[in-house]
Amino acid sequence: MSESKSMNMIGALNQALDLYLERETNAVILGEDVGHFGGVFRVTAGLQEKYGVERVMDAPLAEAGIAGMAVGMALGGLEPIIEIQFADFIFPAIDQIVNELAKYRYRSGAQYAPKVVVRTPYGGGIRGGHYHSQSPEAHFVHTPGLRVVFPSNPYMAKGLLLAALECPDPVIFFEPKRIYRASQGDVPLEYYTVPLDRAWTMRHGEDATLVAWGAMVPICLEAAALAEGEGYDIEVIDLASLAPYDSATVERSVTRTGRLLVVHEAPQTCGFGAELVAGVQDVVFPYLEAPLRRLGGFDTPFPYTLESHYMPSADRILFELRELIDY
């Protein structure tokens, strides 16, 4: 068995990048402050030193330029890995992502298939206010031609990022910055991948199914533990990939439990929770014991002082679960 080490998510992501840059000489990193500084969250620390300024580059402050240049690099045979410093700042780059990157393979009849991995820290819980807290995944899930991936712990972070880097499709890789350091775990030192397209059952249960991704996974596990104290047996699924998503695993679970609660940070309306509910109820309708529910952020911009009210908490999840189970 291979050696492993306890590390946090930043360390795990850094390892994945290091291993991939080592193995694939066409892989390059581009982003704001990712070079000598190693990124504002230090995910790329040490990589410029090791692989040179030609392969690990500080970009001018323009997300559209970063994404657009990456598409061109990929057309030219490189494998760009770009960092958008905060997911909130992905919007200047969204035209290049949804109209170019996502559609290039299709529109060229697969003559070209630019492959870019877009890494970006997302989510709330760091007192970041409007612009350092958003979870814009739904925009990308709704865009055919992209994969959308969320790790929820260091092991998954390394394995999913390596899988994303190997994958021939463009991937938007959302990193839960709130647990960048808080999430600690054993991670094999060797190269390994965790398959995309798969949901992961983190805890088995019979009374209701909880689905989440990224930073909401540990919160859901916490809620499930609380629920256990009240005699409820909750299944927790880490969706991990949102596009395409493994609805089969969720459907199997809900067929048993008859109940589903999806938890996410993004505003509830038109969030991914809606998709999961709509998709799952279509298939498992005869087995449902209660309406499928979602607990998302409120339909407001992300707040500052009142942030703790905004973010779904284990306690609120429990409140929702109780109601579903007693429905």
């Binding site: 657009g68 598409v71 690099m73 057309l75 009849g109 003559q111």
Partner: protein
């Protein structure tokens, strides 16, 4: 839009491009002997033939569109010296990032006419599988990446490709075209700024044809030129007469050489004019007088290169007539052949989104096929 020679080169960039004249061809087709060597006789003829082919295609396809046999078309009539001239200076593997108005570059590169036609029709032979509107070409075997409608998005791609070319040692020099309207987009700024910072080998060519649909250049910028913007990115920008084939290949030749030699990017602003409508969906009579295009016909790049050829003793009127007729004949045959192809198979609708379709798309496809089986039980024998 003025085209006088004193705007030939601009401010800060002069030093790096001391010798690029605004125009080279004289009114009678002659030129200064030192510039004659820019192109040999055989190539003058080949270029003129390409120009004619471009023009015949434009005329014929406009008609096809009016007859409802093409969904859409956009001409490049009047701008061929720029489009062909720029392509003329490239190596065959230098990628050309196109907009929708550079048919000439494709013709010069040698993309077979039937491949163009299949794209325009969107039939089952189209290498792009009939997925894009007419004119949105992509021919990887000819180093032509995919055209997209959102203007300006191709500019950072050229910059990135140049970076890849240098890092991978392929020595390719990407060329990106844009219209003057497109120079207003954010992507113009980020692309040129990144190209300056990373000193990527690439050349940006602005076809300043006076209009963006109905909007005149004067409403796009208050700047005296677009070329001048290059100095704000730290590389040379030059303005040339884009209807003067020799001026184009002179400037472009140097820009490409400079890029290939590690000297970084260049911005070339070629002054030209959009003789036709913006597209088959446009009616320019609403926003410009009929004599404006007429005035520009006097500066027609085809006339000017023809005069030059005659000055060299090449491409007689008889040659011209014969060539035109052969173009017409080729196109007639082509249209008939390409219209006969069936549309792309239904399967292609669901392919190439990702390398393999995900669960959601597979389910959508299965459901659609189920519908088709009910709807037309025999017609769709789909896997």
């Amino acid at each position: 839009m003025s085209g006088s020679a004193d705007t030939a080169s601009v401010g800060a960039t002069k030093a790096e491009f001391p010798e690029v004249p605004f125009a080279i061809l004289n009114a009678d087709g002659s030129c200064d002997p030192e510039y004659r060597e820019l192109i040999d006789d055989a190539d003058v003829v080949r270029v003129l033939q390409t120009l004619w082919l471009n023009r015949v295609i434009d005329q014929r396809f406009l008609k096809l569109q009016r007859q409802g046999r093409l969904g859409f078309y956009m001409t490049s009539t009047g701008e061929e010296a720029t489009t062909i001239g720029a392509a003329y200076c490239l190596r065959d593997d230098d990628p050309i990032f196109l907009t929708y108005r550079e048919l000439g570059a494709l013709l010069w590169r040698g993309v077979p006419l039937e491949m163009l036609m299949n794209q325009l029709i969107g039939n089952g032979q189209d290498v792009n599988k009939g997925r894009q509107m007419p004119i949105h070409f992509c021919f990887r075997d000819w180093a032509v990446p995919s055209i997209s409608s959102p203007v300006g998005t191709q500019l950072p791609h050229a910059c990135g490709f140049g970076y890849a070319s240098r890092l991978r040692g392929t020595a390719q020099v990407p060329l990106a075209f844009l219209g003057e309207g497109t120079a207003s987009q954010g992507d113009f700024h980020t692309a040129l700024n990144f190209a300056g910072v990373f000193r990527t080998p690439c050349v940006f060519v602005i076809r300043n044809n006076g209009y963006a649909i109905s909007t005149p250049e004067s409403q796009q910028t208050a700047s005296e030129s677009l070329a001048i913007r290059a100095s704000g990115y730290g590389f040379p920008g030059i303005r040339i007469d884009g209807n003067d084939f020799l001026a184009v290949i002179n400037a472009m030749g140097q820009a490409v050489e400079r890029a290939r030699g590690g000297g970084g990017p260049t911005l070339v602003e070629a002054l030209t004019y959009r003789i036709g409508a913006h597209s088959t969906a446009d009616d320019p009579s609403v926003y410009r007088s009929a004599d404006e295009p007429e005035r520009w016909r006097a500066l027609d790049p085809l006339e000017r290169l023809t005069a030059h050829a005659r000055w060299r003793g090449l491409f007689s009127e008889e040659d011209e007539r014969a060539w035109r007729e052969s173009c017409e004949a080729r196109i007639s045959a082509l249209v008939t052949a390409c219209e006969a192809w069936p549309p792309p198979p239904l399967e292609t609708l669901f392919q190439d989104v990702l390398r393999d379709p995900g669960l959601q798309l597979r389910r959508q496809r299965d459901r659609y096929l189920a519908y088709l089986r009910v709807r037309e039980p025999d017609a769709h024998e789909v896997p």
